[in-house]
């Protein structure tokens, strides 16, 4: 049986649809037996979903501002 280390790696590959049938079966078998790797799988999906939303969620009331000195430099260079 594959290790948790290999299973976590195959979980990533599976997400991309780049997993072979043999790998898929090995992974499924491991996930049946290992609740930690099952959690890892779910948590990965969770992260992927929220990573997408993160940029928009943080853009609201944008806290990341380009320093005035740089803005000035840019304006100067365009004249």
């Amino acid at each position: 049986m594959i290790s948790c280390k290999e299973a976590s790696y195959l979980t990533s590959k599976k997400e991309e649809g780049k997993i072979s049938l043999a790998e898929r079966l090995k992974l499924a078998f491991h996930l049946m037996m290992c609740r930690f790797c099952k959690m890892f799988d779910k948590q990965n999906t969770f992260i992927a979903h929220h990573a997408k939303q993160m940029e928009d969620a943080l853009a609201d009331g944008n806290e990341v501002l380009l320093p005035e000195t740089v803005k000035q430099r840019i304006n100067d260079s365009m004249n």
Partner: protein
């Protein structure tokens, strides 16, 4: 409908947006500032070639995106062949098991706190802690929705290097989020 450029408004309209965009994708304020400067400079030099088909904003974003991938590509150039060993020598035991520190625990994700700005700030912080190339592939895959083949082509890396990087990024990020939010 053909668009026109208004360079006199570029900084006031787009500088902060482009900076936020770049800063989310590279590893320091300085690099992001350079990228924004280079973006406006390239746009200024190339303004006569603008045909007005794309909007001014998306044209500038495209230039910015290209500057960012140029930056990634330079960083990826010094990448040697990575192996699976690099994915988790400290995150897994010798026998391939999770260690006491890294073993996943249950997340209570149905709580209302999870879609708050505070949560996203922590997630972002965890993303910021990733090493540059891990962050690059993570961002390209999960925020910019790119396919792994595209990412490999853009960064000029092998697919096995890509797997190692993305996998390492996910392990690190998961661990960080668990430590800083769910515990």
């Amino acid at each position: 409908m053909l668009h026109t450029l208004h360079p006199e408004e570029w900084v006031s309209k787009y500088a902060d947006k482009l900076y936020a965009f770049a800063r989310a994708r590279v590893s320091s304020d300085e690099v992001a500032q350079d990228i924004v400067q280079d973006t406006f400079l390239s746009a200024w030099k190339g303004k006569d070639g603008y045909r007005g088909e794309a909007s001014e904003q998306s044209w500038l974003y495209t230039i910015c995106r290209n500057k960012i991938t140029d930056h990634y590509r330079k960083a990826a150039n010094s990448l040697q062949q990575l192996s699976m060993e690099d994915t988790g020598s400290d995150l897994f035991s010798d026998t391939g098991h999770w260690t006491q520190d890294t073993v996943p625990s249950e997340w209570h994700t149905s709580s209302a706190r999870v879609e708050t700005k505070e949560f996203y700030r922590i997630l972002n912080e965890c993303k910021e802690r990733l090493k540059e190339l891990q962050k690059a592939v993570f961002v390209m895959k999960y925020m910019d929705d790119m396919d792994s083949d595209e990412i490999c082509k853009i960064l000029n890396i092998t697919s096995s290097n890509y797997w190692v990087l993305i996998h390492r990024a996910k392990l690190q990020l998961r661990g960080c989020l668990e430590q800083n939010w769910f515990k």
